[in-house]
C-alpha cells in the first residue's frame, strides 16, 4: 500500500508500506541514497530511528479529530506530519460526509464542578455565548455553545460534579437556514 507524506512546501514523499519496519529489513534510505534510516524501536506510542549512527526518538500522538495527521514529538518539539494512504485518498476523492446540522451537545473535556448557569431550557443561545461555567483545576471555564439556537436540554445544576465528556446541555439550531 502506498503511503504519502506531504511536506511543508507541498512536495510529497511516497513510501511503500512493505518497506516500513516489516521485520529485520527496516532500512529506509534518505536523500541521495547515501544515508539510511534504520528503525530501531517501535510501538504505538514511540518510534526510534537511527540515521548515521544518531538516534532520533519520536513520541507519537494520534488525534481522532485529525485523521490525516500524525503528531510527532522530538526533543520536546512538536511536529505535525500529513499522511495519507491510497485507500483514504480514494475515499476522499469520492466526497466526504455532509456536515451535520443537528443539535450541538455541550460537554467539558475535563471533570469539574458546575458553578454558574446562565441559561434555562427554552432560552435562545447565540453561537459563542456562554451557557454555563465549570470549575476545574481551580480555574473557572466558560462552556460556550458552538451554534445559535435554543437550549432544549440542561442536565446539570450549580454544584453538580461532572465527569469528562459528560453531556451537560444541548442547543438545537434554529430550523430556518438550509
Amino acid at each position: 500500500m502506498k503511503i504519502t507524506v506531504t511536506l511543508s512546501d507541498d512536495r510529497t514523499l511516497e513510501f511503500d508500506s512493505r518497506d516500513l519496519g516489516a521485520g529485520n529489513e527496516a532500512g529506509i534510505p534518505l536523500p541521495g541514497g547515501e544515508r539510511l534510516a534504520s528503525l530501531v524501536e517501535s510501538d504505538d506510542r514511540r518510534i526510534v530511528l537511527e540515521v548515521d549512527g544518531r538516534r532520533h526518538a519520536f513520541e507519537v500522538e494520534r488525534d481522532p479529530d485529525r485523521p490525516g495527521e500524525i503528531t510527532l514529538v522530538h526533543e520536546h518539539r512538536t511536529y505535525r506530519v500529513s499522511v495519507q494512504d491510497e485507500l483514504e485518498a480514494s475515499r476522499a476523492a469520492s466526497g466526504g460526509a455532509s456536515a451535520s446540522r443537528g443539535p450541538a451537545e455541550l460537554s467539558s473535556s475535563l471533570p469539574g464542578v458546575v458553578r454558574q448557569i446562565f441559561k434555562k431550557v427554552g432560552d435562545e443561545v447565540a453561537a459563542g455565548e456562554a451557557v454555563l461555567t465549570l470549575e476545574a483545576m481551580k480555574m473557572e471555564n466558560e462552556i460556550v455553545s458552538p451554534v445559535s439556537g435554543r437550549l432544549d436540554l440542561l442536565e446539570v445544576e450549580p454544584g453538580a460534579v461532572v465527569a469528562a465528556r459528560q453531556r451537560l446541555a444541548r442547543v438545537t439550531p434554529d430550523a430556518s437556514e438550509s
Partner: protein, 518 residues
Amino acid sequence: MKNSPRTVRNILVANRGEIALRILRTIRALGLESVLAHSEVDAAGPGFELADRRVCLGPAEASASYLSIEAILEAARHTGADAIHPGYGFLSEREAFARAVEEAGLTYIGPTPANVRALGDKVAARAALSEAGVPIVPGEREAVADLASLKQVAKRVGFPLLVKAAAGGGGKGMRIVEDEADLESSFRLARSEAENAFGDGTLFAEKYLLRARHVEVQVLGDGRGGLRLYPERDCSPQRRHQKLFEESPCPVLDEKGRTRLMELAHRALAGQDYRSAGTLEFLLDEEGEFHFLEMNTRLQVEHPVTEWITGHDLVAEQIAIAAGKTLPATTAEASRVEFGGWALEFRVNAEDPLRGFLPSIGTVEEARFAGGPGIRVDTACRAGTRVTPYYDSLIAKIIAGGPDRATALGRLEAALAETRITGVHTTLPVLRALLDDPEFRASGYHCQSLESRLASPEFLLPAPDGELEAILAVAGAIAHRQSRRGTASRRRIEENVPAGDLSPWARLGRSFQIGGPS
C-alpha cells in the same frame, strides 16, 4: 496539653505534592519529627513515605481536607504535633487559619495573623504601603464593591484594567479588561472565581501596566522588626497571570536598581514586625520604576532559585524563626543577603500546551528527571502518580543554577533533554520553546512576552529543517502504517541494513530525493 509557642519539634505539614515533600525533607534534615496531613487521594507518594506520621484529613475535595481548619487542627491534636507548616496555596494566607493555630496553642510556621491582615489582604497592603511612601500600581486603594464602583475606577485610571481578588494569589481570580464592553462579564467571572478559590469574592482594580517585568523580593522577618532581604527574582514569563518560569537575579536590573528595590522593600515593611517568609511583588516598568503589586505572606513556589544563589534553606529559616531566632533590625543595605551565580526555574504543569493548556488528568507512566551539577528537581511525581482534577496542575519544578546565566541556561537545556514524563501531557514543550528563543536566552521576557508568543502557532509548532523533515516523514509514515495494522506491541528491530544497492529501495528500483534531481 498546651505547648509553649516556641516549641517546634513535631511539625505537621498541611499540604501536598512537591511542596509537602520539600518541607518534609528539611524537617528530616534538621532532625525534627514530621506529620503529613493529606487527603484520601494523596495517601501515597514520596512525601507520604518520608513523613514520620501520616493523618488523613478527609476526601479529595480541598474544602473537605486541605482547606479544613478543623480537620487540620484535629490532625495536629491526634499526632501530638506542636507546629504547623501551611506550605503555599490552600490556607497559607488565611488569617483565620494562622489565628486558629495559635489559639490552639501550636506554633504557626508563618506570619502572625496581624501580618496577614495588614499585608496579605491586597487592598489593605496597597493602602499601607502607599502611606509608607512606596509607589503602587495606579488604581483604586479600596475594594471595588460593585460594578458601578468598578466603572468609576476604569474612568479614572483608564484601560487596560486588571480586576483582582483581594484575598487572592497565584494568578487566580484575575481578569484583564480591555474596554468598557468587557467590564460586566469580567467583574462577574472574577468575583465567582475569587469566591470559589479563596472563599472571598472581594475585588479590587488597578491599571494594567504593559511590557513591565514582574520583580519580587523574598524577605524573612523575625516578628520583632528584624529583617532579611534576599536578592530579587524575575517571574515575568506568565500566562494568564500564572508564572511558568522564574529566575534570580533579574536579568535587566543593575546594582543601582537593586539597591533602590531593596530600599523600597525595607520601607514597605518598616514598623510591620513581619514574621517568617514573605515576598513583596513589584512591577518594573519600562522606565525602570518600581510599582508595588502585592505581598504574599507565605513561602512561594519559586523559592528554590533564591536558595540556590544564596545557599540558604528558606524552610529551615522559617522553622528557626518560629522557634525564636532573631534577626538584626538594621538598614536596608545591612539587611541584604549576599548572593552569587544565577538560578532558573521552570514549572512543569500537567497541561497540554497545544490545547490551550487544558489540564491533563491521568496516571504518570514514566517520570524521568535530570541530575548533575547545578540541577535540582522538586517533585513528588514518579511512575504511577495519579494526576487528579482536585488540585492545581503543578507536578515538578526543574531548577538549574550556575556561576552565570549562560551556564545555568546550558544546564537547564541539558536537564530538559534528560527529562521524560509520559502518561499525561506536560508543559515541557514550553520550556523547549523558551530555550529556543534567542530573546529569552539573551535577557528574558517582560510580562506579556510569553502570551504574545503563544499566540503564534510557530512557537510550539516550529518548522523543521530539511533533514529533520525527511526523518519526520519516515517516522510519520511508519506511525500511519502502525495505525492501519493496529500495531500495539513493542518490537525490537535489528539494524544493519546494508547501504547502496542491497537496500530494499534499490532492489525495487525506486528512489526518492528531497531537494535533489529525481
